[in-house]
Symmetry: C2
Subunit: 234 residues, 2 copies
């Protein structure tokens, strides 16, 4: 089993980093091969731009997804992007580990997706969801935040966190074909003492130990939609 953990926390001693390390240790303990892309440590560039291609199909006018498709076909992606793509292709399980910034990923991780989840390989045309390029792989989100769990509910001032993360869970991971597992959110982290943090680490290890028994989140099935994905046909 190959595991890729993509981690984007600016503090190496953070609780988020501890969750990342616990996951790496867990899977190494099982004999799995584990790669970690620590985006801060790598100085990963998150800005999608014309610099991402060693040569362009249209050097005068940039349509980013079209250049991605061309670059995938002809091997024209910059090496930092290609290296991350290769890691994703090798993995059976992708774990995204990050602190919640504005009900979403930090820009550094968002940019890893913008640049690495290239059109023509991760998705393209009708190759989305059950036909997506990454089908057969699993994905798991592990995120830390300051808010309390009860703030995120029908009764609380914020919305359900899983709903707020739909652009990532469904729109990105599900869209590209991953089996997306129930996300793991560690709430209220900056205000917790060591015992409470230890309890969360225990929950996380238990989640990881039981990972093979977990059903993925439900995703659309492309065959249920018409040719333009505009209407359900069954």
């Amino acid at each position: 089993m190959n595991v890729l953990i993509v981690h984007a926390h600016p503090e190496p001693a953070s609780f988020c980093s501890a969750l990342c390390q616990a996951a790496a240790e867990h899977f190494r303990g099982l004999g799995a091969s584990v790669e970690v892309s620590d985006l801060h440590a790598m100085g990963f560039d998150p800005v999608a731009s014309e610099r991402d291609f060693t040569e362009r199909a249209d050097a005068d006018y940039l349509v980013y997804a079209l250049e991605q498709r061309n670059a995938v076909k002809h091997g024209l992606l910059q090496p930092d992007i290609q290296a991350e793509i290769d890691k994703v292709r090798r993995c059976d399980l992708l774990i995204l580990s990050f602190p919640v910034y504005w009900y979403s990923m930090p820009a550094l991780l968002k940019g890893w997706i913008d640049r690495v989840f290239v059109s023509g390989l991760f998705y393209g045309g009708r190759r989305i969801f059950d036909q997506g390029g990454m089908r057969g792989k699993r994905a798991l989100v592990c995120a830390t935040l300051g808010g309390r769990e009860r703030m995120f509910s029908a009764e609380g001032i914020h919305d359900d966190l899983r709903e707020l993360f739909r652009p990532l869970l469904k729109g990105t991971l599900g869209y590209t074909g991953f089996d997306v597992l129930e996300p793991f959110f560690a709430y209220h982290v900056p205000y917790l003492d060591d015992a409470a943090r230890g309890a969360i680490l225990g929950d996380w290890r238990q989640r990881l130990a039981g990972i093979d028994g977990q059903a993925p989140l439900e995703m659309p099935v492309t065959g249920d939609y018409d040719a333009h994905f505009e209407a359900r046909i069954r």
Copy 2:
């Protein structure tokens, strides 16, 4: 009236850039003062890190929001962040102009929010939504995408785009106190001919002309919730 447009498209000749320019022209034509932060042209750094502070409250352990609060209080933010904060504080209307990447903003714009919407000024403690730091200002999202509008509906394979943008519309702009106007989405852009693009530009100019008559999106009212925002009390 002061308008700030924050623009994050990598192609200066893109339709998204044309929408941005049309907005700048519209408001300049009305005698408004318009500033444009073209993040690609500026080479804006979107990565929130320990480098964002000229001095730190805790040099050994980074809690980003706590350092933001300390830096706001003591004037310790890096100049590139402070310059953007000053622009936001000057503006009456903030326009975010970008292409949709993965049902969200490009990392470059997400990082502008991560670094510029600092704790202690944009929000803090109970100062969110109607008590947020940016109350009295309006915000308008203008985004371009490849999908057709009918794909994003109860019948389509994707969810409603306004729902997918809840982390930005409610969780970021509403949360920090902006009156958030109905977003403007330009669909199917890469596949449209000049006439169709011209029609969208016309719609956009009409939206801008009627902006004073537009009711903002509904947001939570802090007084309706208990002290921890965990339950509605009325």
